[in-house]
């Protein structure tokens, strides 16, 4: 297998699923199941109102889940469903509890007046996977019952493919929004990020009472003294976001793009105290895909 190659039979700019093996995909599903379960914020007690409804909360009152938070029984039910999904058996049914709790709890949490962006991407990936399992694609129509009971190899590849696609789209749209909302001036305005650095680090202080690191003041000073340095540094971040689509091209590009995205998050975590661990893990699973590089692969 040539890791530089795009999807066989397709140009690099119109890629499709890569040649993930069964074992690779099993490992990806296992890691994603763990990620999804740990991402759901089961302790919902604090959200007894939905003053600023977001998403489906605009149509439904979701506060019931704060009054009766899902206990161990529901969590075990979710785990059982995820185990079925990992095993590749009845994933349409298996993913329903995880999808339900991800959506309802995530929506309620984001209906408190403060949108937090830590779980949207993985919930979108979960939704995309469920839709791929639910809606048969391809030439063999009408689909047989086995499509839902035990999806074949091609469906599992589509599931992984759409997960990677959601990751790529999330980063590209993030970069596009920066350009649109700033009328194309985002890069020029990046020295203003010095104020944001100060803000996020003082936020962290008030969250934990841990003082901002000493080097932060020097960094902020350097950003205000040398605005072009700030433009260069944050410009690279914007480039990584806008170039997020490269993780779709081939294994090698997925590795390079994935590592660049992780480096972006780690540097943001260092200077702004904003942690996007779920994003890092999702990119690590589907783009960097360490097992895929370590496992022996058959030549096509």
């Amino acid at each position: 297998m040539n890791p530089d190659a795009a999807t066989p039979g397709r140009p690099w700019w119109q890629p499709g699923p890569l040649d993930w093996s069964r074992l690779e995909m099993l490992l990806m599903r296992t890691a994603f199941a763990l990620l999804i379960f740990s991402t759901i914020r089961w302790e919902t007690g604090a959200w007894t109102t939905q003053k600023f409804p977001n998403g489906i909360a605009a149509a439904f009152d979701l506060t019931w889940i704060a009054r009766s938070p899902p206990g161990l029984g529901w969590q075990a039910f979710t785990v059982a469903g995820l185990v079925a999904y990992v095993a590749g058996r009845m994933p349409v049914l298996g993913l329903i509890p995880a999808l339900f709790f991800s959506l309802v709890i995530g929506t309620l949490g984001n209906s408190q007046g403060a949108i937090n962006h830590s779980t949207q991407m993985v919930t979108m990936m979960l939704l995309a996977q469920w839709l791929v399992y639910l809606i048969p694609r391809g030439p063999e129509a009408p689909p047989s019952m086995s499509h839902w009971l035990k999806p074949d190899f091609n469906v599992q590849q589509q599931v992984i493919w759409w997960s990677t696609l959601v990751i790529a789209a999330s980063y590209v749209v993030c970069g596009v929004v920066k350009l649109v909302n700033s009328n194309g001036l985002w890069l020029y305005e990046t020295p203003y990020l010095a104020v944001q650095l100060l803000k996020t680090n003082w936020c962290h202080y008030h969250d934990t009472l841990e003082m901002p690191p000493g080097w932060l003041q020097s960094l902020i000073q350097a950003m205000t003294d040398h605005p072009n340095l700030a433009r260069l540094f944050f410009g690279m971040g914007l480039l990584i976001e806008l170039g997020g689509f490269v993780i779709l091209i081939s294994r090698r590009w997925a590795l390079v793009g994935g590592l660049a995205i992780i480096a972006l998050h780690l540097s943001i975590s260092q200077v702004m105290n904003l942690n996007f661990l779920t994003h890092i893990y999702a990119v690590l699973i589907f783009a960097v895909n360490v097992p895929g590089w370590l496992l022996p692969r058959r030549r096509p």
């Binding site: 959506l103 962006h117 790529a168 999330s170 749209v173 993030c174 203003y192 944001q196 936020c203 008030h206």
Partner: protein, 163 residues
């Protein structure tokens, strides 16, 4: 002439578009914006020369660890404050920048009301009898970064609330 007489083959054009499904998804997320689980991830897309934070102290202006005590971080509290302030100014057709001190205090009271519901008393340091909610602004000025004087929005006695 032939090129003008025949409509372009839109299907072929569409099939030639690079990264089609991803571009469609980008367009979808861009249009839908913030509707969970969908998002266009607009964090830090609007940069300004100033930024503010919201925090809570005790009666002696000693900061309280917000995540531990109120199960809500300072960043989240700030977003809630901005939403409340936005809702208040919108009712009278004003922009956020035209919010008065009374508007800011009202938004602060709404945030404090939520914080009171979320208190974990076992994490509250001993001797706290009053909670104060402050807003502090950082501004990039000609001669560097300025820390403006914090504005006290609410002072809330704690006595009687502790269960």
């Amino acid at each position: 002439m032939r090129a003008f007489s025949q409509p372009p083959d839109l299907t072929r054009i569409w099939e030639g578009v690079p990264f089609r499904p991803m571009l469609l998804l980008v367009l979808f997320l861009f249009v839908v914006k913030e509707r969970y689980p969908f998002s266009n991830f607009p964090m830090y897309s609007n940069l300004d020369h100033e930024a503010d934070i919201i925090y809570i102290t005790d009666q002696a202006d000693q900061a309280l660890p917000m995540e531990k005590v109120f199960r809500t971080g300072s960043g989240t509290a700030k977003k809630m404050y901005k939403k409340e302030l936005n809702a208040l100014t919108k009712t009278t057709g004003r922009k956020l920048v035209h919010a008065t001190a009374e508007d800011r205090a009202a938004a602060g009271r709404a945030v404090m009301a939520t914080m009171l519901q979320r208190i974990r008393y076992r994490h509250m340091p001993p001797g706290v009898s009053q909670l104060r909610l402050y807003r502090k602004t950082f501004r990039l000025e000609e001669n560097g970064l300025a820390h403006l004087e914090p504005e006290r929005l609410v002072a809330q006695p704690l006595a009687g609330l502790n269960p």
